[in-house]
Structure formats: structure tokens, C-alpha cells
Assembly symmetry: C2
Homo-oligomer: 221 residues x 2
DNA sequence: GTGCCTTTGTGAAGGCATGCACAAAGTCGG
DNA sequence: CCGACTTTGTGCATGCCTTCACAAAGGCAC
């Protein structure tokens, strides 16, 4: 039943490379829209905002898909990167917590754009349940486990208040989910084998403030 | 303009460390709320989800604020990290683009919580102008430069559609802003001396999809 | 004051990522 | 068919980050 035998190179893709592949993919899609047939590593790197040697090394982890003297075929590279990232299949995503952020995420076009389909919206507040957002009806958190299993949800976005995040996390893991995108400002503790990615708006601002302060200190006086 | 030369004043705090300081700060605030007077590197590291040696090395970049045999004074360490991050002063933040995401950001409590004050909301759509969000009135994008200067805005959050982001970026930089938090799915090009941090929701999902796919492939069937 | 116990701060080693520089490989005009 | 040119793929050196392991430092009991 194995659809694809994992090659040695599959296991070896560095995290830093994986994190950049979506960037390349976006740049490639821009080129494809303009009808560009091929692109050099130099040009693609510029479009993605990285060093061209880094881009070539990143792509070399996927295979040897370039043509020396010419560059990379845009459509073919889009396909290869999409396949590597798993975007050729359909991913069912559930969003837990439909406050301001959850609603914004549900309406965010970038989610649906490639392979990601929002399969459920949940909230603990009975006032929210039944609301229609982005074409879906908000369901009560009690339905979480049954909906995850019924609709084959494999990725869960947590957009709840901090206090509820760990509990939601535990429940979705118990229901079989192993990929979580966490917007709540807490460190989630999860067992091995579960991937958590965190987006923390206030941390980003604090990092900016540090550099801003340093600029001010260095210039003045 | 040399940004990476360690000096006596600039203690050369590594970027990786800076990125974790807000994490420690959050963990410390949790401890402070529970009245904990001191904490060991072991416990604080566990609360922040990092290795304890890493935490000690991170904190050692700020100075020698621990007491051997005891640990760190929670309140004192909160103060020192806050000061280092520049959170003891008030930062005026403007949000450009009040679509779903911009509105959610404006209402997000985490922004205001520490030193960050939303000083302006902007949109290009005349329909939006005049709306009141989170206690502020949405202003037209034409006012951008004058408001930035008048209210001393030093950090700008870009939450516009992709197509408008670079133009907004250029304008705020021309108005003197050197710190930008970008939510638009584009690579912003900026001159030296300007810091851009990027939050990209769809990229995070794609990274999760990659790992999720690999987990599925790896299972022996 | 003394000795034991805890915990910090850091030297050193190992691993990973980055970017340079170039040989190999392929295209294209004639 | 050939030679000049372009661009990839990668060996290598460098530097940053992480982690281990431990000596030094301080508190505490008596």
C-alpha cells in the first residue's frame, strides 16, 4: 500500500530547506502567471530573497531538476516542490477558536489556495455556535473529536485564548492529529511524533523592538 | 551602519537568543503571577520549552543575574529582559490594512499588553475609513506619512493584500520607519538598516504538510 | 567558621547552515 | 561537429548555534 518508497534523499532534507520551499513555490507561481517558461537560480533566488547558491543547494536536495546552461523549468519545478511538500493532496484543516483571529484565519484566502481545505470551525462559546463564517457553520467544541475523525482532519489550527490551548491540544492529539499550528501564546507540550508550529504575534513585535532600540542606542550621542 | 560588530555597549546578543527572550519573559510573567520569588534555570527552561544550558547561555549574554545555588530572582529577571528588549518604553505601532487580519490584529490583546500601543489604523478603501476598531478610527492611507511623523510611529504592521505591500513598505520607510512586521505574502525589498520580520500563515501550513506527509509515507504498510 | 549541597556561568566539541568558487554539463550559433 | 558560453550542482571553509560537562560560586545548617 505504500504509494511512494521514501528515498534516502527524502529523509535528508534539512529543516531550513523545507522552510524555504514554500517561498520558492510562491515565487515560481508568480513567474508561471507571467508565462515565464524557465528561470535561472540567480533570478529565482532574487525573487525569493535568498542567496542563489543556497537556492541551488536547497533544490539539489529534491533531485537534479535543473538544466545546465538554461535553468529550471518553471512548471516542472512547481510540480516537484508541490509534490515534496505534500500539496498535491488535499489536507483537511480544522480551526479551533473563532474569535477575531480565528475568523480572520477562516476568511484568509491563502489557506484554501493550495491543497488546504477548512473542514471545521469550533468554539466553546454557545453564542458562536451556528454562526456562518467563510461558508462554514461554527460547531461546538464537544463535536471536536467526532468531526476530526469523520472528516479526516489531519491539521488543527489553535486560535483559542491561552488558557484553553493545552486542553484543546491534548484532545486533538488524542483524536489522532499529529500536526498543529498554534496561535495561542503558550508553549504546548506534546508527545513525540507530534509537530507543533507556533505563530506568536507579540513575540515578533518584541524582537522588532529590540532591534529598533539598538538602532536608537547606536546612532545617538 | 555596521550592524554586526560587537562593541562594549552592544554586547553582541545573538539573534537566536533575542528570539527566545520574549519566550522567557512570558514564562517569567506566569511565575510572577503565581507569586514565585525565584526560579532555577532548569525550571524556567522547562516552562519555556528549551534546554536549560541554552537558557543559561542566553541569559549570560545579558549579564550575570543569577545566584548560584539559588537561581534567578523572577522580578529582577523580568525587569532585565524587558529592558533589554526595549519594553520599558512605549512603542507606537501603526497597522496598515484593516481587512479581516488587520482587524484581528487591532483587537489582539497581546499587542497592547507590553509597551506596544496602536497609534493608527489605515486603509485604502474609502468604505473602511471612519470605521471604529478597538477604540481607534480608521484613517485613509493618504494620511500615512503625516500620522507616522506626528505620532512618532516607529513600527508598522503591514496587513494589506500582497499587491499593495511593497508600495506601503516604501512609503513608511520614506517616512522614517525602520521596523516592519509583514503579514502580506510577498518578499519585501528594503534598504540596509531596515528590519523586516515576516509572518506567513500559509507557509506554516505547508511546512506542517511536509512533515505530515513524511509521517504517512514512513509508516510501513 | 566549616563543609556540604545546589545551581550558575562557560570552555570545548560537535553539528548544521551558509556562501564562495569552480568543475562538469548542457545549449546554441555557425 | 565544434567551440564558446551559460548555468547547475557541490566540495570546502567558515561561522553560528546547541549541548555537554564541570569548576566556581554562593547559600545554608550547625
Amino acid at each position: 500500500m505504500t504509494r511512494r518508497i521514501p528515498q534516502a534523499r527524502d529523509r535528508g532534507i534539512p529543516d531550513a530547506t523545507v522552510a524555504r520551499l514554500p517561498l520558492y513555490l510562491r515565487a515560481l507561481n508568480g513567474l508561471a502567471e507571467r508565462g515565464t517558461p524557465t528561470v535561472s537560480s540567480e533570478d529565482l533566488a532574487a525573487a525569493a530573497g535568498v542567496n542563489s547558491a543556497k537556492l541551488r543547494k536547497d533544490l539539489s536536495h529534491l533531485g537534479s531538476y535543473g538544466t545546465r546552461g538554461v535553468g529550471y523549468d518553471v512548471q516542472y519545478l512547481i510540480y516537484q516542490i508541490s509534490r515534496e511538500l505534500g500539496l498535491t493532496q488535499d489536507w483537511a484543516v480544522a480551526i479551533v477558536g473563532v474569535g477575531n483571529l480565528g475568523r480572520a484565519l477562516a476568511n484568509y484566502g491563502g489557506f484554501v489556495s493550495r491543497g488546504f481545505r477548512i473542514a471545521g470551525l469550533f468554539d466553546a462559546d454557545p453564542q458562536m455556535v451556528g454562526d456562518r463564517i467563510a461558508g462554514l457553520t461554527v460547531e461546538h467544541i464537544d463535536e471536536l473529536e467526532s468531526v476530526i475523525k469523520k472528516r479526516g482532519v489531519s491539521i488543527v489550527v489553535i486560535a483559542t485564548p491561552a488558557g484553553a490551548a493545552q486542553q484543546v491540544c491534548d484532545r486533538v492529539i488524542a483524536a489522532g492529529v499529529t500536526s498543529i499550528l498554534n496561535f495561542a501564546p503558550v508553549v504546548l507540550s506534546v508527545p513525540d511524533g507530534v509537530d507543533v508550529r507556533k505563530v506568536d504575534l507579540s513575540i515578533e513585535l518584541q524582537i522588532l523592538a529590540f532591534h529598533e532600540q539598538r538602532k536608537a542606542d547606536g546612532v545617538v550621542m
